[in-house]
């Protein structure tokens, strides 16, 4: 499809949907409410939204959807660390129940027992999975949950009068960047630890960095490289030894479900990404949901209100005096939470363990296939197994051919699949991170590896083909430089029309 921008579909007189109109009885009583508005409040002209009939709006978005590559459509192993797994359709359908979709958060508790029960059951399940004492579902995403962790850490130290003293947070370079970012936003100085000579998180460097100024260590494990920190208990104990807290980013928990638990390693707080590990759809970038698990001594700091069970009934209990308050509107991202609940309910304990083991098996299987491609490598901890994903490098291929990881990604998409370089900064040169999760069959992993092998082969035999990609996608090489220049970028149609007054305005033939 060569689908225009929605504004270009404007046709005078067309309507997409009609809202309910003012009833005659209401109008009789209240008169002309628009005429009665104070001058300053009355919008002088309707907003310049396009006028489009309903079928054409639908057609527009359906065509756009077909120009998109969802996880349902492709072998989506290329977005490593993001745990792109199958989000069961049954959960989408169950959750769309009007009894959940259309209830208001402030209704009487007796009328929303189902919603409260889902929250309570999900908290219970995540308590079991993490081993923590209490779980909150208020966080609205993974990074939001990291924020909640750091906010609780801050509140904890403040409650002990150490808010001023403890102004540093320690993380590792292969922990998710949001740990560093959220700590910085919370006002902390961030110290970043790099791997040791073997590629593992460097315990000595940690010990050197810890002090009475440390508020917390905030680490991901396994790290984004797929390497599990074998001395994680030592890390936590070292932090505790100086009075700091330990915060566990469990975004990469998929490979260790039912294998090991956050609490067993001594963490004070942790979080899960429900939309990653617990199989809810990623929604083009949200809504996601985060779950924060805490040990008993951190429970007073949790955001409120929390769900409590009273026999067969469920009720909401306000947060206490030490609570960090509201981290999101009401009680979290309910549709995502409910889908995660259904996913856990379908799998249970044996299922979660099978998920972890299968994901890890798939990951190591794929690694063996990828490392067989000339020019690909997996830096750090060479020869060791990985848990959930692997951060690979095309450095060797790049040196041989000048083709970058980014170029390989664009070309891979020509074969109908997704590929991602990695989070910045590119500590691993020419990086790419693959995480097959448990959702793909052996045949599909073979297919994905074959595509990368093919592109790597092209890089050596026909580098121009790779460099000039895309060749087989809905859109062609885009001038991305424009997007970094304030004079040339166009973030909205309104901005585009102003900056490019002479641009060709499509109208259908």
């Amino acid at each position: 499809w060569d689908e225009p921008i929605v504004f270009e579909l404007d046709a005078p007189g067309e309507r997409g949907v009609l809202p309910p109109q003012v009833e005659p009885g209401v109008r009789e009583t209240v008169g002309d409410v628009l005429a009665d508005l104070p001058e300053s409040l009355r919008r002088p002209a309707p907003p310049t939204l396009p006028r489009i009939g309903q079928a054409r709006v639908l057609r527009h978005y359906l065509r756009l959807s077909q120009e998109n590559l969802g996880a349902d459509l492709n072998v989506d192993v290329g977005q490593g660390t993001c745990t792109m797994k199958y989000a069961p359709k049954v959960n989408d359908q169950l959750v769309a129940d009007p009894g959940l979709r259309d209830v208001h958060p402030l209704q009487g508790e007796e009328s929303v027992q189902g919603a409260l029960e889902i929250l309570w059951r999900t908290e219970q399940a995540l308590t079991a999975i993490s081993g923590m004492d209490r779980v909150s579902l208020h966080s609205t995403g993974g990074s939001s949950a990291i924020w909640t962790n750091v906010a609780m850490i801050r509140a904890y130290h403040a409650s002990r009068g150490e808010a001023e003293q403890r102004d540093e947070v320690i993380t590792t370079i292969f922990s998710h960047p949001s740990n560093a970012a959220a700590a910085a936003v919370a006002g902390y100085k961030v110290i970043t630890i790099h791997p040791d000579a073997d590629g593992y998180p460097d315990l000595d460097a940690l010990r050197a960095a810890l002090s009475e100024r440390t508020a917390a260590i905030m680490v991901t494990n396994p790290e984004d490289t797929g390497i599990y920190n074998p001395r994680i208990v030592d890390w936590v104990e070292a932090a505790h030894a100086v009075g700091a807290l330990a915060s566990y980013d469990q975004a990469n928990a998929n490979g260790i479900l039912g294998i090991t638990r956050a609490r067993d390693a001594g963490f004070d707080v942790c979080h899960f990404n429900l939309h990653k590990t617990f199989g809810t759809p990623h929604g083009s970038g949200g809504p996601g949901a985060g779950a924060n698990g805490v040990a008993e001594h951190m429970a007073p700091f949790l955001p409120g209100p929390m769900v409590e069970r009273d026999g067969d009934r469920f009720r909401l209990a306000a947060g206490g005096e030490l609570s960090i308050g509201a981290v999101s509107a009401f009680y979290g991202v309910i549709p995502t939470i409910a889908k995660a609940y259904a996913w856990i309910a379908a799998l249970g304990a044996p299922g979660l363990r099978a998920v972890a083991e299968t994901a890890v098996l798939n990951n190591n299987y794929l690694m063996s296939k990828i490392l067989a491609i000339p020019g690909a490598s997996a830096p750090y901890a060479t020869g060791r197994r990985r848990v959930e994903q692997v951060r690979y490098s095309w450095q060797e291929l790049y040196e041989d051919t000048g083709i970058t990881s980014e170029e390989i990604g664009v070309r891979a998409a020509d074969y109908g699949t997704h590929y991602w370089t990695s989070h910045h900064p590119y500590v691993v040169p020419q990086p790419f991170t693959l995480e097959p999760t448990e959702s793909y069959s052996m045949a599909e992993l073979d297919e994905y590896a074959a595509i990368l092998a093919q592109v790597a082969h092209e890089a050596r035999t026909d580098p121009e083909m790779v460099r000039t990609a895309p060749h087989n996608q809905t859109v062609h090489h885009t001038h991305h430089d424009d997007l970094d220049d304030p004079d040339r970028w166009a973030v909205t149609w309104r901005g585009y029309l102003r900056k490019y007054p002479d641009a060709p305005q499509h109208r259908r033939p």
Binding site: V6, E67, G70, A265, G283, G325, R384, R385, H480
Partner: protein, 465 residues
């Protein structure tokens, strides 16, 4: 793998397939992959979870059984989550596998997602009269906290004046979020809206921002936006306006009255209530690099391609974001609420200019009607004389909490209790005249007023034809 667990979500769970894969990697068992996890940390038994419901039919019955305990009611509840109509086409589009299960694809393969989110930003920008709108953040709490942080960073100042009655949850989030950089000072409102004189008196060259909420937490629409903007700008501060775009078909947008940053929630624009879990936040500013570069969110821009006349898309000023900078970034970027942004875009494309105008009129008219008939009940009065959109506060002659409980027994949610005798009542285009009349009748009955409660109509009956 101790015992094989075969499940539809796990394609490689058959023992023979696992054996083949293990052989391919040269491993004896999956245990090898966990070599780095110390034995002391290994879980020995099973997790303490209920038996799995492996048959989809059993799972469905279980979940439906729980959700079936919820009941929808005739509701006059608002306070942040609103019951507006969600057009069917909106649900259809965001239910498409291609959008629902996409994530972080690149501009070429995910052209549709980039375009849909660019269009969302563009459509909302028309409503707001701004040129830059972000890819949605979590909710209005986060959007407001971020907007105020942007003002703090852009001005290098630390005082924020709160000129409106703001929602308690937003306030709680903002306070905790900006704690390291700035402090809030509350300026009491007069008759529901800002006290311009009092705000002006507190302004100084250390003020980063004046925070206005319109409609406010009580539904009052701010009429002095222009004066507030002028006064704030006079000291070099920024006016941050938190709003709900639902009324902007008929109300002048804050940016047109001088607001520098507009922020708020888009739940009203085509997203279901979801028990309070259907929110997404927006931040809109003029195309001024000073402000744009302070936005931590992703921004999707339109660019030309190697084909004449073709549109391509990509990230605008990627280097602003924490993706690029970790702790050196302005904030963080993560999975937030993109799908709700697509939903709001579809909503606005369907509504069009005329739809937003008609909706705005319906909201204003029904709000005015509800105020009129409810305050006509003996002993019931209104808390202020401001213009209200959707919400307003009633003063009741009996404790509001008791009244609410008694009406719940009749399957009516009468409103949100704001004070001992204060009730926040909300009406939308889904609340018909008949619904409002019913509330008046039942509220009258509960308050002991003589009404013709004999003509009791069943709640949620079908629309009269």
């Amino acid at each position: 793998m101790t015992t094989p667990f075969v499940h539809p979500y796990l394609p490689n769970s058959a023992p023979e397939v696992r054996a083949e894969m293990l052989a391919a990697v040269g491993a004896e068992s999956v245990e090898e992959f966990y070599a780095d996890i110390p034995a002391a940390l290994r879980l020995t038994g099973d997790l303490d979870l209920p038996e799995p419901l492996v048959a989809e039919a059993d799972l469905s019955r279980h979940v439906r059984g729980i959700l079936g305990k919820n009941r929808t009611r005739l509701s006059f509840l608002g306070a942040g989550t609103y019951h507006h109509h969600v057009p069917a086409v909106v649900d259809e589009v965001i239910g498409r596998s291609e959008f629902l299960t996409a994530y972080a694809g690149e501009p070429y393969e995910d052209h549709g997602r980039f375009q849909a989110l660019f269009e969302y930003a563009s459509l909302l920008a028309e409503l707001l009269e701004v040129e830059v709108v972000n890819v949605p953040t979590y909710d209005s709490l986060q959007a407001t906290a971020t907007a105020l942080s942007m003002a703090v960073r852009a001005t290098g100042r630390t005082r924020i004046l709160v000129a409106s009655d703001v929602r308690a949850d937003v306030l709680s989030k903002v306070e905790d979020f900006i704690r390291p950089y700035a402090s809030l000072e509350h300026v009491p409102t007069v008759d529901g809206i800002a006290d311009v004189a009092a705000v002006t008196a507190l302004l100084g060259d250390d003020v980063a921002a004046v925070w206005v909420s319109t409609p406010s937490a009580t539904g009052a629409v701010e009429t002095a936006m222009t004066q507030l903007a002028e006064a704030t700008h006079a000291v070099g501060g920024l006016l941050v306006a938190q709003t709900d775009p639902i009324g902007l078909g008929v109300l002048t947008p804050p940016a047109a009255q001088g607001a520098d940053i507009t922020c708020g929630d888009i739940q009203s624009l085509g997203i279901h209530a979801w028990f309070g879990g259907g929110h997404a936040g927006f931040v809109g500013v003029a195309d001024d690099p000073r402000l744009v570069m302070e936005m931590p969110h992703r921004l999707f821009g339109l660019a030309s391609t190697s084909v004449e006349g073709e549109y391509g898309f990509g990230d605008v000023a990627w280097d602003r974001t924490a993706f690029a900078h970790r702790e050196e970034g302005k904030e963080w970027v993560g999975t937030a609420a993109a799908l709700w942004g697509i939903a709001a875009g579809v909503y606005l494309a369907l509504m069009g200019p005329q739809g937003m105008v008609e909706l705005g009129e319906t909201l204003l008219a029904r709000t005015a009607y509800a105020r009129k008939v409810l305050t006509a009940l003996p002993g019931v009065s209104e808390a202020d004389g401001a213009v209200h959109l959707r919400e307003f506060v009633l003063h009741l002659p009996r404790p509001a909490a008791e009244v609410v409980e008694e009406l719940r027994a009749k399957e009516i949610e009468a409103g949100v209790v704001l004070g001992e005798h204060e009730l926040l009542v909300c009406v939308t285009e889904m609340t018909t005249q008949a619904d409002i009349d019913l509330l008046a009748r039942e509220l009258g009955a509960v308050l002991g007023t003589a009404t013709d409660a004999t003509t009791h109509t069943p709640v949620l009956e079908e629309v009269a034809r």
